[in-house]
């Protein structure tokens, strides 16, 4: 089982009927030359990379830009088109007065499997008191949160909100809540590592390719910035495969990971088993 934990479906043709909305997505994500693709192509790309399931992430910026960049209902629509291949997450702008109501609707009515939050583009500090009702709902419904962490290439998304240390209060205050700090919190890798080894409920993903080729960048990350056996020895069960598609091509990141030299069991965990645990797909 291979699971891509980090896919932005803004250019899936089935939710790109409105040209202005598609252009708005290009601007919000900073993906200026990305064009819509049909479902057949998306599934072929997943097959080519050997990916069984992709986690689709919406984005609600209601109070920031007045836009829901990708809506929860659009994600639900896409999951319905290929329910064996897609896992849908929710997004709520935490500053919305009805954020909790919308999140309950996502879990109860839309059947979404987790929550994506982006402190940088949604402009909140993860430890802020306004977040408590949202975290409590995720605990109540046993849904994980995928947080953007570290550098964001979205144009209006300061990294200061998403520094890994910002998430320590969440990890500490909600030990039953599974949280994934995406992108390894790059460039603050040491902070991410500290949280991974200390808090059982903290995970990270591999959706980063900010310099060099995937092979070179992952070698730098996993073998030079970190000790060469840190992942194998210490948190082989806490790193999830994620591509950040369409920003980075899933097959390239998978090939890069396979060249790092992880132990076979570690690689198997990263590519899918850890996500099965994080998403509680065992049942």
């Amino acid at each position: 089982m291979v699971i891509d934990m980090h896919v932005h479906p803004g250019f899936f043709q089935d939710i790109c009927g409105d040209r202005e909305r598609t252009e708005m997505r290009r601007q919000r994500y900073g993906l200026y030359k990305t064009s819509p693709s049909p479902l057949e192509h998306t599934l072929e790309v997943m097959d080519h990379a050997g990916i069984d399931k992709s986690v689709l992430l919406p984005l609600d910026l209601t109070t920031i830009t007045g836009e829901v960049v990708i809506s929860n209902d659009e994600v639900r629509t896409l999951v319905s088109l290929a329910p064996d291949r897609f896992v849908g997450f929710a997004s709520v702008d935490p500053h919305r007065k009805d954020a909790a109501v919308e999140l309950v609707r996502c879990f109860e009515d839309l059947g979404l499997s987790g929550l994506k939050l982006n402190p940088s583009s949604q402009r909140f500090h993860p430890g802020d008191a306004i977040m408590a009702p949202i975290y409590e709902l995720c605990v109540k419904y046993d849904k994980p949160i995928l947080f953007h962490s570290g550098l964001s290439w979205e144009p209006n998304a300061p990294a200061k909100y998403a520094r890994p240390l910002e998430f320590e209060d969440v990890a500490l205050g909600y030990p039953e809540l599974r949280i994934c700090l995406a992108h390894f919190g790059w460039p603050w890798i040491d902070e991410t590592v500290m949280l991974l080894i200390k808090y059982p409920n903290v995970f990270t993903d591999t959706s980063l390719l900010y310099l060099d080729s995937p092979k070179d960048f992952y070698e730098q990350l996993f073998k030079k910035n970190m000790g060469p056996l840190w992942v194998d020895r210490n948190f082989a069960d806490k790193v999830l495969f994620g591509s950040n598609a369409p920003r980075f091509r899933p097959v390239r990141l998978r090939e890069g990971l396979e060249k790092v030299g992880f132990k076979p069991r570690t690689l198997e965990n990263i590519l899918g088993l850890n996500a099965v645990h994080f998403l509680k797909l065992e049942a």
Binding site: Y32, T34, P38, H41, E44, L209, Y210, S213, R252
Partner: protein, 142 residues
């Protein structure tokens, strides 16, 4: 007279030679041009238009030769973040293979038909699949 057609296709492999001889010949025959030229031109920088013999062994040799000359992993300068795209350049081999292949081919049109050698076929060649692609067929003549 000038007649232009845009053809869209979806590549399903990273390297893929897609034979388009029939598509080009049909458009020439329906264009109304009796004598002139037909040009086939790709719309991309990591694809090519190639003419060669349509034998599986030749296609395999072409793929392997290009891979030997331009391996997937090398110290390509293009492998960096591209702000104008919002993505990291990961397809330098595709650009270089496209350079070797060229972006077009031209054939004569005589008596309303495309003129082509008996061993020749026209290929749209994908060097950076899987992608949504397009190419142009333009017939120019009288």
């Amino acid at each position: 007279m000038v007649k232009l057609k845009t053809v869209r296709l979806r590549s399903v492999r990273e390297f893929q030679m897609i034979k388009i001889t029939g598509e080009v010949a049909d458009f020439v025959a329906r264009s109304g041009v009796q004598n002139g030229l037909v040009a086939v031109i790709t719309a991309h920088t990591t694809t090519g238009i190639m003419m060669n013999e349509s034998l599986p062994c030749v296609e395999e040799d072409i793929e392997e030769a290009l891979e030997r000359l331009i391996p997937k992993d090398s110290s390509y300068m293009h492998a960096h973040f591209l702000p104008s795209y919002g993505t990291t350049g990961g397809n330098s081999p595709g650009h270089l293979k496209s350079m070797l292949s060229g972006n077009n081919c031209i054939l004569p049109v005589q008596d309303g038909k495309m003129v082509i050698g008996h061993a020749q076929d026209i290929y749209f060649v994908e060097f950076d699949g899987l992608k949504m692609r397009s190419y142009f067929i333009e017939v120019i003549g009288e």
